[in-house]
């Protein structure tokens, strides 16, 4: 895609949840352009719509109003399978709770999105290379996630998010469950990944973590302020 075209574009996007006691507006007419290679922190109080924004950009949820374009494709026009494939190939997710698959080993967790994409289990050294890149020891590959520390689990999650070489990384409080030292290491890793050309949207409530981003967006009551 051309450099002048935003990799993510939200065009008057609203997300309204109909509830029995009345509609709740989680996102209210949000418009946003994200350039390729940007590192954006999304901040705001609880209930401001940060997670909803991330879910909508992550194609896990669809806008009630407005249009969302990811790499130029209007996601409102895509089928469920196409949205799933977009999540698999173009987006990488990093969660506060790490969200590794407990039944799989570290190696299998990392290669899982690749297996979904290529239908093959041979990663030709990619898993080892990614493991090294995120600072994990290769000896941990045969272990189950439950045998790893929080920092190690988050590194596995980052490796998993990078395995299909996605253009965008979506991070939901990536250091929220880590101690300060480990959190700093993870943020340095994300900064490095961003330096290699990945676009990062990161939700956080920690101003120190937000400082790693190039730009911070503040959300209040579903609006960018």
């Amino acid at each position: 895609m051309s450099t002048d075209q935003p990799i993510i574009r939200l065009d008057h996007v609203s997300k309204i949840y109909p509830l029995p006691f009345g509609d709740v507006t989680a996102l209210d007419d949000v418009s946003l352009d994200v350039e390729p290679g940007a590192f954006i922190a999304v901040m705001g109080p609880s209930g401001s719509g940060k997670s909803t924004l991330l879910n909508v950009i992550g194609c896990l949820d669809v806008p009630t109003k407005g249009d969302l374009f990811i790499t130029g494709r209007n996601i409102g026009e895509l089928s469920d399978d196409e949205l799933t494939d977009l999540r698999r190939d173009t987006l990488g997710f990093i969660f506060q709770q790490f969200n590794l698959i407990p039944l799989l080993t570290v190696r299998e967790n990392v290669e899982y999105p690749l297996v979904l994409k290529t239908r093959r289990r041979e990663s030709e050294g990619l898993v080892e290379a990614l493991t090294r890149r995120v600072g994990l020891e290769e000896e941990l590959l045969p272990h189950k996630p439950s045998e790893l520390s929080g920092g190690q689990q988050q590194r596995v999650a980052i490796a998993r998010a990078l395995v299909n070489d996605p253009e965008i990384l979506l991070c939901d409080e990536p250091t929220g469950n880590l101690d300060t030292k480990t959190g700093t290491l993870i943020m340095e890793l994300l900064t490095e990944v961003n330096g290699q050309g990945k676009t990062i949207i990161m939700v956080t409530h920690d101003p120190r973590i937000a400082e790693y981003a190039h730009r911070t967006i503040n959300l209040v009551d579903g609006k960018i302020v």
Partner: protein, 385 residues
Amino acid sequence: MIFFEFAKRSIRLHWLRSLLAVLGIVIGVMAISSMGILGNSLVLSVGEALSDVGDTVVVYPHAGGFGNGPPVQTDTVITGRQVQQIERAVGVNDVIPLHVSADRIEVGGEMGVVQVYGMDTADIPLLLEVTQGVYLRGASGALVGQMLAETYDLGVGSRITVGDQSLRVAGILTERGVGFDINPDRAVIVSDQWYRSVYGEADYDQVIVKVRNLEEIEEVKHDIDAALNRRETEVDIFDTRMILETILETFSTISTFTTAIGGISLVVAGVSIFNVQMMSVTERTREVGIIRSIGTRRREVMKMFLYEAFLLGFIGSAIGGILSFGGGYLALLVMLQDTTFLFAPSSLVYIPYGMLFGIGTSLISGVYPAWKAANLNPIEALRYE
């Protein structure tokens, strides 16, 4: 195949729950297969016991009666003239007219009642086989059925008293089983001369026609009917093959019924699989949210849970299939006291049949939980604790 790996590991992780579900399938498959084997063996054993009379047409004097079975006999008889008509009608086939009655028997002070058949001594080898002694040659002497001989401890040369007449046993008959023409196993067979002289009856009670070519049975029946029942119904004509088929059909229905009863246990097993799968989906809701969010399609999630149901069904069916040999053997031993037909192909086929039902039941039971998992909202699933 990573989804198959998921299924395997999930089963291993929840081994006790999986074991109980597998046990349900094992019991279901065993019940279906064993009941199938039992029912089929029943049909086969009945068929074997009755099949040697499949080439016979039996003619009774017409006496009304109901349904398709032999009529209730009264004092009506088949006359010598009618026998001649039958002989003419059936051509080269053997015609065996019989006198039939029941009389008192006394052997060494032991008394009872016995069926007495009187027939031309030349016809006896056409219908019966002697296992000890010889066929009747003259008017005197008698042949006795195997079971009667065992009851009264008779041997060749033994003396029996039928009515008031003393008879010497010339031969013991080979056991024949239940027949639709005559039942000689507990009977005394005498010459027609002796019978007429003792009972004073010249007419016959039934006529048996042994048809040489089985394909001509219908034609033979038709010819007898045309010869004797043209103006009014004088005789009733039965084809033993037809009766045999009706009986086998009845036993087949019983067999299907018993197999269906076995199927009920498989339905119960299916409910167990459904329960296990629903629990699995509930416990793994968050996991489903994770894999959906990182790019797993709905049908792939569905496949993952269906593999799990399939594996449970396959393991249960395989074990159930192997144990069905033992189950079938036990069922035959207890119910029929005869395990001869356990390895008959038509019996063994119930084992793969039961296994297929086991796997099918598991898959069907797993469809809804798998569908439910595939259609979970990824965001809500991720939030599930």
